[in-house]
Amino acid sequence: MAQGSQYSFCLLGGKVISSSNSEDSKLYTGVRLALIIGTLSSLALLLPGLVLSALAEVRISQSAVPLAQLIPQITKLQPGAILTLGILALLFTPVIGVILAMVTYLRVKDWLYSGIAMAVLSVILFGLARALL
């Protein structure tokens, strides 16, 4: 793995790797896992949703289900609701990556990058709040 080879390279150079570099490595692993889990979760909803849509002969031109109606329609196995949930799972995947970055930088007391990650998260939440209002 390239990240590992980078740190091995450092070791061969005789410099001791600080514990912070291992946190950085954990961040990369954590973000990658978050992306994989998020995309697989989305796929797990989109695939059955598409099958149900094809079987139910649903029209393509239907908007996504609003949040307030999502759960009731999912319990009725409405294809549009299942697909909407899958899309929302996908949209939150990068957000989780940003949260992981913020937490990791806070743990190693890298205030600069934790502040940057926090600011990015704030902007995204602002966009979400503006959409809701």
């Binding site: 390279f9 990369y28 992306l35 094809a54 649903v58 899309i87 996908l90 957000v95 990556g97 959409a131």
Partner: protein, 290 residues
């Protein structure tokens, strides 16, 4: 919903995901014209669909690039701040701005960038001035500073490529502009971010594309929720495109890791030129694109 429609939409997603992952863009620049031209979809619906597909391409490709060590998460996070701010600004003004002059400006920029990338003399020569960097480095060499020097392993060259990120203020400015374009046109902004990182900030082309792939998903999310709540995301339309994009992004990211930086640079420059033509057509109101 017919299976033929599903296959067509999936094919669009696959093509966009493959190219998008290879080039560090989200694929929206390909998806929106295809949806408006082939399916005669209204522009806002095409953009809403495109934005969601961009997140899919980004997430799928980024996980592969992070595993290979090509993604610079710190740089991506730093540049993402002005990008997301720009994306929000772009989305807010999108409805009141005349798109034609903007399209002309965008087309001019893309044409200039494509020519610059084609003229770049050290295309693919990754072992250049950065070879004098210290042998040991890491993101935490200087805690509290930007700490952006790093390296990645190039599978094509079979060696570790060190590099140092420079001209950060210029990169921040370019990212803000990329964010505005993303918010206005429903793309990820990679067409600006990749050249900015490569030509201005000294990031090797492969690392620039990998980092851009990580960033564009975050950028797209900033605007995606707005499109979702305004009812411009059609899940039955988006879902097959997303599935196709997932598969295409997996393929595209693997291809990009194996071919030379020179070839990637050439492919990217050609994609920029094609996109600039689409922008010029839109500016001249001959558009099927946007």
């Amino acid at each position: 919903m017919e299976w033929s429609s599903l296959l067509l939409l999936g094919g669009i997603g696959f093509a966009a995901g493959t190219l998008g992952a290879m080039l560090g863009v989200g694929g929206g620049i390909f998806i929106v014209p295809l949806l408006t031209l082939l399916l005669q979809l209204p522009l806002h619906i095409a953009i809403g669909t495109s934005i969601v597909a961009i997140v899919a391409t980004s997430s799928a490709a980024a996980s592969s690039y992070i595993k290979s060590g090509m993604t610079h998460i710190r740089l991506g996070m730093l540049l993402e701040l002005p990008t997301t701010i720009g994306a929000i600004c772009g989305a807010i003004v999108a409805t009141s701005l005349n798109p034609q002059p903007l399209s002309a400006l965008f087309g001019l920029l893309l044409t200039y960038t494509a020519c610059s990338m084609l003229r770049q003399r050290r295309i693919g020569d990754e072992l250049t001035s950065n070879a004098t960097l210290p042998q040991t480095r890491g993101h935490y060499d200087n805690p509290g500073t930007l700490s952006l020097s790093t390296s990645y392993y190039d599978q094509n060259l079979g060696q570790t490529i060190p590099y140092q990120v420079t001209h950060i203020p210029h990169g921040l400015g370019a990212s803000f502009f990329a964010g505005n374009i993303a918010g206005l046109l429903g793309v990820g902004g990679g067409m600006i971010k990749v050249p900015a990182m490569n030509l201005i900030m000294g990031v090797p082309i492969k690392a620039a594309m990998a980092t851009s792939n990580f960033m564009i998903g975050i950028t797209a999310v900033a605007g995606a929720f707005i499109y979702y709540y305004r009812g411009f995301v059609y899940p039955h339309l988006a879902a097959p495109i997303i599935l196709g994009a997932f598969l295409g992004a997996q393929l595209g990211s693997r291809i990009a890791q194996r071919i030379s930086g020179r070839r990637l640079n050439l492919v990217f420059a050609i994609a920029l030129l094609i996109t600039s033509v689409l922008m010029w057509l839109k500016a001249a109101n001959i558009a099927f694109a946007y």
